[in-house]
């Protein structure tokens, strides 16, 4: 019986098994992955040690030196309160790097569980849930997210919960179709004939075989989570404290673009773009390696 169970597992990690190398080594051999990880590590280090790296105090206001263009002393210039933009960019990654991964993790865990259940159990529950999911998906995710943020208030926890719950059906849909493919392989009926119960079937037999799908889904969704958190902050739904935050800083300074003060807005915007591009490079590499 073990032979039957082992076969499809081999089919999943195709490229890795073919070349007889562990997945992490294949990943490290890809330049896109290395660049992506380097960008991510840079921002993670900034998020943790930001205050020690930053050349100035990101909160210190200089009312005589407001809206100064980039110079030797302030590489990225100063904002409308005379705060050093470079220091705010360095320390501004923190909240986004806390909220986005937690929200994605929540959505992935719930979505995987739901997807397993829907794909394995099928029937009336599947039909009803799929209908509701489709109704929700008829709206742009960002509109639903800010609808609920307005309703529940803008705390870090609320943003994690709302984005996590919105991701749940999206991830569930992907996992569900992967589970349905697995369900057609021989090992599923074989295990069922052995008398395994549904819970064990889903989490012990099927889950390991759809894990690559789940991992790809996680990294791709992480990019969207950062998109969502940054957009919420830009729309004024960021956590309202004086700590530096890319999206909030942009929403405070973009009206000054017309006055020519581009540095206050452009540098945080480029920071967001670089973080998202880094994650995409990583996500794309993982997808290429795991999907073979």
């Amino acid at each position: 019986m073990t032979e039957i169970v082992a076969m499809p597992a081999g089919a999943v990690t195709s490229e890795a098994e073919k070349r007889g190398q562990p997945v992490w080594r294949l990943l490290l051999g890809r330049p896109t992955f290395d660049v992506g990880v380097a960008i991510l590590l840079f921002w993670i280090i900034c998020a943790i040690f930001g205050e020690s790296i930053a050349p100035h105090n990101p909160l210190a206001q200089q009312l005589l030196g407001t809206n100064k263009p980039p110079s030797a002393q302030h590489w990225f210039g100063t904002d409308s309160l005379g705060r050093d933009v470079l220091s705010r960019v360095i320390t501004g990654s923190r909240s986004i790097l806390i909220i986005a991964p937690l929200a994605t993790l929540l959505g992935t865990v719930l979505g995987t569980a739901l997807g397993l259940a829907l794909g394995y159990l099928r029937g009336i529950v599947d039909t009803v849930v799929s209908r509701v999911v489709e109704a929700v998906l008829a709206l742009p995710a960002i509109i639903i997210i800010f609808l609920f943020v307005v309703a529940l208030g803008v705390s870090t926890l609320n943003q994690v919960l709302i984005i996590g719950f919105i991701f749940t059906p999206l991830i569930a849909r992907t996992v569900r179709s992967a589970v349905q493919v697995e369900g057609q392989l021989d090992y599923v009926p074989a295990a069922r004939l052995l008398g395994e119960r549904s819970g064990r079937m889903m989490f012990v037999e099927i889950l390991p075989n759809v894990l690559p799908t789940v991992l790809v889904e996680f990294t791709v969704r992480l990019g969207y989570a950062i998109f969502a958190v940054a957009t919420l902050a830009f729309l004024g739904f960021g956590v309202q404290v004086s700590t530096p935050n890319w999206g909030t800083d942009i929403s405070a300074s973009y009206v000054l673009l017309g006055a020519g003060y581009w540095w206050e807005t452009l540098f945080p915007a480029l920071a967001i773009a670089s973080l998202i591009i880094g994650i995409n490079l990583v996500a794309d590499s993982i997808e290429q390696v795991l999907a073979g």
């Binding site: 896109t32 209908r131 509701v132 489709e134 109704a135 929700v136 998906l137 008829a138 709206l139 742009p140 995710a141 960002i142 509109i143 800010f146 609808l147 609920f148 307005v150 309703a151 529940l152 208030g153 990019g223 969207y224 950062i226 998109f227 940054a230 957009t231 830009f234 729309l235 004024g236 942009i250 973009y254 673009l257 017309g258 020519g260 581009w262 807005t265 452009l266 915007a269 480029l270 967001i272 773009a273 998202i276 591009i277 994650i279 995409n280 490079l281 996500a283 794309d284």
Partner: protein
């Protein structure tokens, strides 16, 4: 065929009903009392209760839902709390503005996305393919306000070629309006490029791999003829579907772009309704977005059916 379309329309109506329920009850979950937010924190409790009664928000939820949805079906969208005037004309004007912006974005993006996808597919696995795919993926996940800022800085602040706002002065000519809409359209183009290119790429690869293309090549047709006559025609089918489903994302993008460029469209309207807790406006706006999306996907499904002879003759389904 007729049976399939009937089933498809039926499903769309069920989904719309579910959507209306979700929107209505999500609107009611929003904390904050409408009368209180209109009258301000200093108003007397009795005045608040009187206005609640006048607005009808003290009735049972089911009654409120029923009068709301029947009103919607008759084109009566209620009164906006923040403007104290009917929602319908405001929504109509905003929708017309958004339609202009969205149309411009789509006119640019559809040929560009298809071209990108087809070029990537014809060079599958080569650097060109990887560059197009990665650019598309990154452009699709960079928030619209970020790419919007970059284009404002380049074309408006540094080069001073185009205005940084989208709203042309009243009574402007078509070309002036177009000039104002050019910059806001770019972020939308960025977001959609990746999706459309990816679908066009997948469709083209599948078509290139098919038996009829092998037959066409083996009977001695030139590669260009094979691509134009056999590959493209079949690869564009899934692309039509994805363009329709992207209308949803497009409207999501409009919320951000219209805020950044200060443009009076439906995204801006929904955003301001949400921040002002203007429930009638918010619910009508979001429901309109849902209806537009459902109609767009329905049209896409019908088009796909009409263009695919196997579905048309009922060989499948």
């Amino acid at each position: 065929m007729a049976r399939y379309l009937l089933k498809r329309v039926g499903l769309a109506i069920v989904t719309l009903f579910l959507l209306s329920v979700i929107i209505f009850f999500a609107g009611e979950v929003l904390p904050g009392n409408p009368a209180r937010s209109i009258l301000g924190p200093l108003a007397a409790e009795s005045a608040v209760r009187a206005l609640d009664h006048q607005l009808g928000v003290d009735r049972p939820l089911l009654t409120q839902y029923w009068s709301w949805i029947t009103g919607m079906l008759h084109g009566n969208m209620g009164e906006s709390y923040q403007y104290q005037s009917p929602v319908e004309p405001l929504l109509r004007a905003a929708l017309a503005n958004s339609a202009k912006l969205a149309a411009l974005a789509l006119i640019v993006i559809i040929p560009l996305g298809i071209l990108g996808g087809v070029v990537a597919a014809l060079n599958v696995g080569r650097p060109v393919d990887r560059i197009i795919s990665l650019t598309g993926l990154s452009a699709a996940t960079v928030p619209e306000f970020v790419s919007g800022i970059v284009v404002i800085v380049i074309f408006s602040v540094v080069l001073k070629w185009l205005p940084a706002t989208a709203q042309a002065p009243a009574g402007s000519s078509f070309l002036t309006q177009l000039r104002y809409l050019l910059l806001p359209a770019i972020p939308l183009v960025f977001v959609l490029f990746g999706y459309i290119a990816r679908m066009a790429r997948a469709g083209t690869i599948e078509a290139l791999d098919s038996d009829y293309v092998r037959t066409a090549t083996l009977k001695g047709l030139r590669r260009q003829v094979v691509i134009w006559r056999h590959v493209l025609r079949n690869s564009l089918l899934p692309t039509i579907t994805v363009i329709a489903t992207q209308t949803g994302y497009l409207i999501g993008g409009l919320v951000v772009v219209e805020t950044l460029f200060n443009y009076q469209g439906i995204g801006n309207l929904i955003y301001h309704a949400a921040t002002a807790k203007d429930f009638p406006m918010l619910e009508a706006g979001v429901l309109t977005v849902g209806v537009i999306y459902m109609v767009a996907t329905l049209i896409a499904d019908v088009l796909t059916t009409l263009l695919n002879p196997r579905l048309r003759t009922g060989a499948i389904r």
